[in-house]
């Protein structure tokens, strides 16, 4: 309720896996933080946090103990999940490794509701995104590192150790790259939306075969603060089908395939532009770029009360997914019967929005690789890399590392490439040249 509070959506960081240590103030007070390329603020719990249990289980910043503390006091709120962290800005020195970043603005959180941060192993977040998305327009730690001449090059890089049995979790290098943690040359792509480390991405392949959905281009964000890989539901359904992952049944999808499946195939064979097919059969309107849902109005009683249903939107998006699937199968020279069956099967494998899907641990060896095209190069992930195994032996459970995320144009379609991807591929965040680079991790 404060007029000068800035609010930004954040995440529940419990699914983030890699964290490190910083010192705040003089002498340094230690905090464990997530180094998150998907956000831009530094925040830690405040000693003035009295009414949140989470604060009693984590290190708290005491400004009275720091000789370099400067008051700011402007309030701040960071939204995550179903709640929000609130607090106020302060200024102090931050020790990262053995470098001291002076006069760093950060948020002292005074309220951390819910259990999210109560059980977290880390105390706070250190954002490595751009200032454009920073709450309160606070200058990120990384900006101050560069401006204060603390690093040689305006570049930082991540190596995340995928060997779970090794002590070393990974390494974040400020000012350059560690040559012992990658093989070959990095493939660089320009940042296309400053704020996030976002870039253009090409098609996604399953078992070496293109899915077609991102053939015309998708966007992706390299996010060290997220564990999983999130992407468009139509592609995730194809992946779920290929790896035998559970999903939810979409009745709209089944209805579209049953009623319009043959029409879609006929129109594809007649070389109708795929983007226009769903409008041509009356399930979407075409806005020049993509299908837009038609709101279906129905008479619900004799008094002519009309209510719009969400059916139009669901049928439109189901139709657009079916077009992608069928086009993909036609390009593989599948029979029409096989194509309709395949599309119908995919309707049973729709990802629950941003939910997780279980898979059979015994089936890993027969699962295909999933690949992402970045900068014209194909980056593979093997089943062992994209499946999360929880527990061992008979008790083991396996969960797909893919989750559904549908973002419409112009911002989407969008993929979030989290630790699963950054574990396989050493990632350079080149601030000076506004680009991201990927190479095989070593």
């Amino acid at each position: 309720d404060s007029a000068d509070a800035d609010i930004v959506a954040l995440k529940n960081y419990l699914d983030a896996q890699y964290y490190g240590e910083i010192g705040l103030g003089t002498p340094p007070q230690k905090f464990t933080v997530i180094f998150d390329t998907g956000s831009s603020n530094l925040w830690v719990p405040s000693a003035k946090c009295y009414f949140s249990i989470a604060c009693y289980f984590h290190a708290k910043y005491r400004s009275s103990l720091s000789k370099t503390y400067q008051k700011n006091g402007k309030s701040a709120s960071i939204q995550y999940g179903s709640g929000s962290i609130t607090g106020f800005f302060s200024i102090d020195n931050v020790k990262v490794g053995n470098l001291v970043v002076k006069n760093q603005e950060f948020i002292e959180t005074t309220s951390e509701p819910g259990v999210t941060f109560l059980v977290a192993k880390f105390d706070g977040i250190l954002g490595l995104g751009f200032q454009e998305i920073s709450v309160g327009n606070a200058k990120p730690v990384w900006y101050n590192m560069v401006e204060q001449g603390l690093v040689k090059e305006p570049v930082f890089s991540f190596w995340l150790n995928r060997k779970a049995d090794e002590e070393e979790g990974g390494e974040l290098v400020f000012g350059g790259i560690d040559t012992k943690h990658f093989k070959g040359k990095h493939v660089y792509v320009p940042v296309t939306r400053k704020g996030y480390w976002q870039f253009d991405m090409g098609d996604v392949l399953i078992g070496g075969k293109p899915t077609g959905y991102c053939r015309g281009g998708c966007s992706a964000i390299a996010d060290s603060g997220t564990s999983l890989l999130a992407g468009p539901s139509s592609v995730i359904a194809m992946i779920n089908h290929a790896i035998g992952a559970s999903g939810v049944v979409s009745q709209e999808c089944k209805a579209v395939v049953q009623q319009y499946g043959q029409n879609i195939i006929d129109l594809l064979l007649a070389q109708v532009q795929p983007k226009k097919i769903c409008s041509q059969i009356g399930l979407c309107t075409f806005d020049g770029n993509q299908g837009v849902s038609i709101v279906i109005e129905s008479v619900v009683d004799e008094k002519n009360d009309k209510s719009s249903s969400g059916l139009g939107e669901a049928m439109c998006s189901a139709c657009e997914m079916a077009v992608v699937w069928m086009q993909n199968q036609l390009m593989q020279n599948q029979t029409q019967e096989r194509i309709l069956n395949y599309a119908n099967e995919l309707c049973d494998r729709m990802p629950s929005p941003m939910g997780e899907s279980a898979v059979d641990c015994g089936g890993l060896s027969s699962m295909p690789k999933v690949s992402f095209t970045i900068g014209g190069k194909v980056f593979d992930l093997s089943p062992e890399e994209y499946i999360l195994k929880v527990g061992e032996g008979a008790q083991a459970q396996c969960i797909s590392g893919f989750t559904g995320l549908d973002v419409p144009p112009p911002r989407g379609p969008l993929w979030i490439l989290g630790d699963i991807f950054m574990g396989r591929y050493h990632t350079i965040f080149d601030y000076g040249n506004q680009r991201v680079g990927f190479a095989e991790a070593a």
Partner: protein, 43 residues
């Protein structure tokens, strides 16, 4: 920092086992953690 002018920060990792929080979140079936994890992007 080392002689090559780079600042190296060692990262720790949560182990994936049934007792850790990652596992607990993924096991919960609620998907709330995943839903929340994407919200920072204001999508």
């Amino acid at each position: 920092a080392s002689n090559d002018g780079l600042l190296r920060i060692g990262l720790k990792r949560l182990k994936r086992d049934p007792d850790n929080r990652v596992a607990a979140q993924l096991d919960s079936g609620s998907g709330e953690a995943l839903r929340a994890s994407i919200r920072k992007f204001n999508l």
